[in-house]
Symmetry: D2
Subunit: 147 residues, 4 copies
């Protein structure tokens, strides 16, 4: 799976991909970053033993991991390379069970200010290529100037 | 690590532990349920490669997984065995990096009504036996009557 | 200010407007419902002494009132007249001070299930006819069947 | 109703009370600050036409106003007089209708860092002197250094 990159510099895309690769939690879930845009991001988490709850569908915690991650990387796309962001809170509504063969998360930056960035996004369950909206979220990041 | 059980029947404790064991996402993280009370629960997630972000501390998504899980099991302690609960939303504030050797989550049921249960909880980073508060959360579950 | 109505029956629109008129809190703020659609709603709260915080801009609580109200009425547009909805939680991110001469809230229903309805929306500050995005929110309502 | 003050300087208490008096939205609701502590605050909103929804109980927006306000003033008690705080987000769960003759909100500061303060609190409905828990909330404020 190659990453589709649009609207950000090679430097930003490379920094995002390196950060993504360095997150053990994402590697353990087999997560892939599939799209990077200016202020947007798409991530896919495939179905595996590591993502399930007791009914065999995607665990609510994996929805939270998706929200925290895809929102964060959408923010990185406008903050990097000179600035970093740290998620300070998020809120997620789960609308339907994640019963597909993958979760697809898409986030966008609503505001990237000097101190705070706010993102929102949607998480879909993908089954045989068809997507169903399963969750929506809002997230706040604290913005950090790198030296 | 044995589970400390207080205030719930053996049947409830057994149902909770079976549900916990059947959640692949928790097994992948090495999570343990360490205390069960009437309307309360404690869960521990040890440090491993599977929980880190790029700075090597606990990933924000693992905080979400902890919140969703420990809140849910606190609710199960009053709902099981005749009823089940499904998390429909949660919100988490992260106060400090999870830089310890384990995350410890503790939740309590604020209300368990006929249709909805509300929980709240705290997540601590444990380092050399000392705990530091790292996150707080609120969660809503939809209550389901089992046949 | 007349209400623009589209996509809902006269009965639904009338029920929504009667409910709106019976909310003392909205009357005290001088709130007006300006648009009703199928699963959408728009409400305006004009600037007055009753809405300000100590810097003279719209109070954070008025943002919350707007979120709770416009989300609720968006849900009513699909639930009424046979069903009612009660907000059980909402979460709001404030992005910028509400320094205009009115707040404009727009909400849409993301899901209206048998038991729960989820809405999301945006709140703008309007100044000399120009709108600036000031807040975003998510809300959950519990759905009630009327006898 | 006199304000019970404990653990804060006269200067801080005076600054808090002046700020409170200058919020038109609180005056319109007849809100009173009844307790100030170090990192804590209590506020009361009496029943009136200005707070009701269509069933005659306290409006969900008034719950939000209470959360935003009592959380904010709890934060002010540790930030003032050298620093100020601006609420950037809050999330509220409503557990029961506010059917009493007053709402009583109590908040405490969970963390007051250099850039962000986090508060949590409970809102009770008071009826003939008896309190019933009606809502819980979490709030984030951005901290501002005054010149």
């Amino acid at each position: 799976m190659t990453v589709k990159i649009e609207g950000v510099s090679e430097e930003v895309a490379a920094a995002m991909q390196e950060t993504f690769a360095n997150q053990g939690a994402l590697q353990a879930l087999g997560a892939k970053m599939t799209r990077i845009g200016r202020g947007t991001c798409e991530i896919v988490i495939p179905k595996s033993e590591a993502v399930t709850q007791h009914h065999g569908t995607f665990h609510g915690g994996v929805f939270g991991t998706m929200a925290d991650t895809v929102g964060g990387f959408a923010a990185y796309s406008v903050l990097m390379p000179s600035r970093d962001g740290v998620a300070v809170e998020y809120k997620i509504n789960m609308l339907a069970p994640g019963d597909g063969d993958a979760l697809v998360g898409r986030a966008k930056v609503i505001k990237a200010g000097r101190s705070l960035a706010i993102t929102t996004g949607e998480i879909f369950s993908s089954k045989n290529g068809e997507e169903k909206l399963c969750a929506i979220f809002q997230q706040t990041l604290f913005v950090i100037d790198k030296k």
